[in-house]
């Protein structure tokens, strides 16, 4: 278990629920105890809390305003190193232990001013938040620390999407532009910090991305992140528009091999987009069998299965949210009931004129105590339930990356198909020209020259096609290996989730049985003496 490698120079997690720096050594039990203890049903009213984690695009914020500990915080604190219900290592922690990095933390959100902004009124310059990202690579003792802003994470995500086509690249936290205006600043920042940390961990645990240069540079290299090749849409479109005339005039008909390796994107390659669009339409409509077809039956079967799985997962995660809410309400009402009886007890004790009142006050106190205890236990349970059932949400996030990976595959296929039909049409043009030229006695210089040009074009296109085909095969292989990995991880995670959920439910129930049985015993004198009709 990771908890054995406690790093001495880190500050211990704050007991008051400050989750700024989560580290290996903190086990979840102490986190939950500290969090649970800050919530005393007798003291606090219920403050509103941040909604479910921003990383997962499903649940609307309105449905699950959970009392502290918030859903996001708890899910965040379930770092890969959290102890599972059974004392054996959980699949998450096993994966974390095998990952490229032994330590990653996102902390210390601090505002910085936009450098280009001039502020006429001091303090009004637009600011953004930067986070301190600390990490340590396996086998190295050296700890790296860099400052990154959210935009940098977006850049990282975009580069990884380009570099790892076909892989299930973990989705990054949402931009949440609406929520960032609506929520309290501190809450939003805290939520985002937790989500970013989890995101980095998932990247590190990915067998291909973990060891990647992109991640390493992000974690270790100070300074501004270099912008990816395609940033703002306007300049891309302009770029593309500038090239289009030349493409149309036939001077730049060929996509270079390195270009075909990327999907047609943005304004840079308008012509290619048009062509591929035409190709996909042709494939769909004319019933023309495209030269290359997705024939991999195994893949198609798996895809279908995953679609079914995703559907069930969505429904299960909705039910899980409803369950969490119902459990929370139960705990709250039980607590309110206990409180009402405490007040009654106090009142009767103060005003007691008759012995029977004092007895009743004592009985009332026993009930109140049991109810308050049950309420606390229920809230603790809910913390656990949230943590375990969060797996459902996580996997919904994973399904997003699966969709992206499948899309990578189909767009690569489309590129290949487009090039193949390009070749076909070039070939037929050559044939026509040759046929026409042969009719002229003495040869047709102009036409023959044209034929030579076209043959050049064919050669280049053939090259491009080979590259595209290679890329497509590569992506297919990525898909396959990722699917295999996902299958295993999914089974492991789901089983772990159920184990944790069931174990925590059982423990909670056992805890409160005693309390109620004691009161049952204490009040047994009032039980009916005769065995009347059982209700």
């Amino acid at each position: 278990m990771m908890s054995s490698t406690a790093l001495p120079d880190l500050p211990a997690g704050d007991g008051d629920g400050d989750m700024e720096t989560l580290h290996l050594a903190a086990t979840t039990t102490s986190d939950y105890a500290s969090v649970a203890s800050t919530f005393d049903p007798l003291i606090s009213a219920s403050p509103p809390s941040p909604p479910t984690p921003a990383a997962f695009p499903l649940s609307p914020a309105s449905s699950s305003f959970v009392d502290p500990p918030s859903y996001a915080d708890v899910a965040a604190s379930s770092s890969p190193h959290s102890a599972s219900a059974s004392s054996s290592a959980s699949p998450r922690s096993v994966r974390a232990a095998a990952s490229e990095y032994t330590f990653i933390a996102v902390s210390d959100p601090a505002p910085e001013a936009e450098p280009a902004a001039t502020s006429l009124v001091p303090g009004s310059s637009p600011t953004y938040i930067t986070y301190l990202v600390t990490s340590a690579r396996r086998g190295e003792h050296r700890r790296h620390a860099v400052r990154r802003r959210f935009r940098d994470f977006v850049t990282l995500a975009d580069r990884l999407a380009e570099a790892f086509r076909g892989h299930f690249v973990p989705p990054r936290p949402d931009k949440n532009t609406v929520e960032s205006q609506v929520m309290q600043r501190d809450e939003f920042v805290a939520q985002r910090r937790a989500a970013l940390e989890r995101y980095l961990w998932r990247l590190a645990e990915h067998p291909a991305i973990g060891p990647s240069d992109e991640l390493r540079v992000f974690l270790q290299t100070e300074g501004k992140m270099p912008l990816p090749s395609s940033t703002d849409v306007a300049s891309r479109m302009l770029d593309g528009a500038a090239r289009l005339p030349r493409q149309l005039l036939g001077e730049e008909t060929v996509a270079t091999p390195q270009d075909v390796v990327q999907p047609a994107k943005g304004g840079r390659d308008l012509l290619r987009i048009f062509k591929e669009l035409k190709q996909s339409v042709v494939s769909d409509w004319a019933g023309v069998k495209p030269p290359l077809v997705e024939e991999d039956k195994e893949f198609l079967e798996k895809k279908q299965k995953l679609q079914d799985w995703e559907q069930q997962l969505t429904s299960a995660s909705q039910q899980a949210e409803a369950l969490v809410k119902a459990q929370q309400d139960m705990g709250e009402t039980m607590g309110a009931l206990g409180l009402a009886f405490i007040k009654l007890t106090k009142f009767e004790t103060e005003e007691a004129l008759y012995d029977s009142q004092r007895i009743r006050a004592a009985d009332s106190k026993h009930i109140a105590t049991a109810a308050v205890k049950a309420s606390r236990a229920c809230r603790d349970l809910n913390t656990q339930t949230v943590k375990y059932l969060d797996t459902l949400h996580e996997h919904l996030g994973i399904m997003l990356s699966v969709h992206t990976a499948f899309f990578d595959r189909s767009s690569a296929l489309l590129t290949v198909q487009t090039l193949m039909s390009d070749l076909a049409s070039l070939q037929s043009r050559i044939e026509k020209l040759e046929a026409a030229a042969s009719k002229i006695f003495g040869g047709d210089r102009a036409r023959l020259r044209k034929v030579e040009e076209l043959r050049e074009t064919i050669r280049a296109t053939e090259d491009a096609k080979c590259c595209a085909l290679r890329e497509y095969e590569r992506i297919k292989e990525n898909n396959r290996s990722e699917l295999h990995r996902l299958d295993q991880e999914r089974k492991d995670d789901m089983l772990e989730m159920l184990k944790g959920y069931v174990a925590s439910q059982a423990a909670y129930a056992e805890k409160i049985v005693e309390g109620w049985e004691t009161v049952e015993e204490e009040t047994s004198g009032y039980a009916r003496k005769t065995d009347s009709t059982a209700w």
């Binding site: 009402a340 049991a370 492991d492």
Partner: protein, 399 residues
Amino acid sequence: MISTERSQSQSPRSPTAAGAPFLTISVTDPVKMGTGVQSYISYRVITKTNLPEFEGQEKIVIRRYSDFEWLHDRLAEKYKGIFIPPLPEKNAVEKFRFSKEFIEMRCQALDLFVNRIASHPELKQTEDFRIFLQADEEKMDRARSYETGIFKKPSDFLQMFKDVQSKVSDVVLGKEKPVEESTPEYEKLKNYIFELENHLAEAQKQAFRLVKRHRELGQSLADFGKAIKLLGACEGDSLEKVFSEVGSKSEMLSVKLQREADNLLFHFEEPLKDYVRSVQSIKATMVDRANAFRQHFDLDQERKYKELNLEKLKFMNPEKFSETEVEFRELKADSEEATKRFEHIVAVMEEELARFQEQKTADIGLAFHEFAKGQAKLAKDIADAWRSVLPKLEACSTS
């Protein structure tokens, strides 16, 4: 059949010593009668007794809610000072009236009502009670409409309004009015009763919510269980089997939760509601007491005033004196009567209070017991269910 207080009545199952007096009553078998707006629920009232005042060993009559109301109002009119056992709410709202739960709870409450009367030393001996238990339906109908007929005369209406007004102002604004009983003990009692009602109402409200929470949790557990089963079906192999078990347990627990919700409603929330009603009945008695006090006080003041005048008249106008003296004697008699009535109410209330406190401790003690018992059983069922499936989960391998 609830037998919380049965000084003279015994349950049908315990052996009755020969000749020992008993009176057993039960209210059962609610049946919907009539159609549409005219419809109502009728109840069967079964009386078993060997007391001589009653006609025969066993009597079964059919009664409806307004008959119970008649009995309640008659007793309230005649026996001022006694805390008349409370009736369940009338609830005229159509759609709630005939729900199964509502009918059952009302039947239970009505049964409690008559049995409480049967255990009250004074009330159980009243003729009104006997009429209620024994009169045939026609006679009962007549008695009921006769009462309501008289009640609805215009002058009675006016009087009703006035009484309500004075009730409200006396009891609520009491402190403003000069004519108010204000001994420190009685003040304390009034405050106690009012505050008690607030505390109890809050507890009852939470208890009602708790019932709802049980139902909600039960529903979401059922849905969750189904979803888990479907997830397992996607996976296949060993996972499918174990997921299906978890789903089934979840569904089973959902049923238990619904049952506990019902249990809570009948055996915890309803007794609390009944407690609140009892306190409201005390408040009604306090209104009677305030009225009696006012009467006594007013007449007493009048008498004192007239007495002084009489003294004067004796010397100044001997002729008028004898006339006035007769009037005065009447007034004095009335005043003494009013004072006696007031003092009777005070004395009765003393007794009733002691009895009330004891009764309530027993009633609520039982409610607490049922609550704790239900929760303990539920928790045990939950623990057992999950413990039984956990080893299967742990034995399951994913490779």
